[in-house]
Subunit: 210 residues, 2 copies
Amino acid sequence: MAGWAITKHKIYLASASQTRVHLLRSAGLVFDAKAAPIDEEAIKQAGLAENVPPDDIAITLAELKAQKLASQKEGYIIGCDQLLSCEGAIFSKPRSEQEAAQHLEKLSGKTHRLHNAVVVFQAGRRIWHHCSHADLTMRKLTAQDIADYLAFCGSDCLSSPGCYQIEAGGAQLFSEIKGVYYDILGLPLLPLLQLLRAHGLMAIDGEAGK
Amino acid sequence: MAGWAITKHKIYLASASQTRVHLLRSAGLVFDAKAAPIDEEAIKQAGLAENVPPDDIAITLAELKAQKLASQKEGYIIGCDQLLSCEGAIFSKPRSEQEAAQHLEKLSGKTHRLHNAVVVFQAGRRIWHHCSHADLTMRKLTAQDIADYLAFCGSDCLSSPGCYQIEAGGAQLFSEIKGVYYDILGLPLLPLLQLLRAHGLMAIDGEAGK
C-alpha cells in the first residue's frame, strides 16, 4: 500500500524542510514538496514592529508560502511555519555556533513557546488554517553545559531557532516539555490529516494518487 | 565530544529494545545495553489477577529487569517498561497482523493510556523510580481503515502493544495525543537524565566514561 492521497488532486507541501518532508512521508502522505521562498525575516521584523502576536505572524508566513506555490501548482497546497518566542522576543535560526550559544544563554532557565501554523490552499484560495503551541522549559545551563552541548551537536544546532532536536541531543537541555511531538517538529499533523480526510484523503495503491 | 557519562561508573540499560537504545544514544548517553529477559507475560497476568494497578505492574517489571542485570554488572543499571491500558484491560504486543487488527478494533474511538516506568539500581539496590503517562485517543476506525493501515505498516505493527509508531504511519490513527514524545516511545527520558545528573553525569571526551 503506497499511502494516503486525495483522488484526482495532487497534494503539495510548500516547503523543502527535511524535517517536515520526512514526517509527512513517514506518516504515509503521498505528496510533492517544493520550496516557496519568501523573505521570512523581513515579514517577521515588520510584524514585530507592529506588535502582531507571534501566532498571527506564523499564520501569515505559512499562508504566504502556500499562496506562492498555489500560483504555480493546482491541487491542495500545504504551507507551514514555526516561530519560537521567549519573553516577547522571537528567535530565528542561529547562523553560527557563536550565535547558537547566545540563543541558549537567553533560553536557559526559562520556558519558551513554539507557535506552529499550518494553512491549506485549494483552487487558489485559503480553505483552512490552524495554529497550535508547545511550551518547553530549559534547565539552568552553565557556560560549560552550553559548550559541551554544542560540541556534541555540531552544526545540527543551526537547524532550528532553539538550537535543538528533541529526538537527539536536545534531550540534555530540558527540564520539562509540554506539547505534542508533531508540534515540536513544526507541523500540527493530526489536525492537518483530519482536514485532508474531510476532503477525501484515502488509502491508495501504487502511484494512483500521484 | 563523545557524550555524557558518570565518571568511574558504567551505565547499563537492562533492555535490548531498539527504540530505547536508539533514543538514549541519540540523546548522547554513553552506556551499554544488555537484555535482561524475565517472564513479562506471567508477571502481568499475576498482577492483573490481583488487581494491581498498571503503574505498579510497570514499575515491578522495570525493577525486575534492572535487578536481573544488577546481579551481573556493577554501575548504574536502568530498567524500564511500558504498559498500554484501555478500559481496564492491558494490551501486550500483537503476535500477528490478525491480532494487531483485533487490538486496533478494541482501541478504535477510545482513549488509551501508556504507563511508562523507569527504575535505576546502583550497588545492587534500587535508588530511584519514576512512572509517567501518555493518553492517546484513536479516531473511529472502519474495518477498511484498519486493513489499509496494516497494509501500510506491515510487520512494524507488531513492535508495540498499540500497533503504532507515532513518528510513522501511526499518525493516521489518532485524533488526539496528550503526552511527551519520550513517554510515548517508552522511556521517561527527562526525569532519568535529571537523576543521572544528580549522580554526577557529565560531558566526556572520547572513551573516557566507558
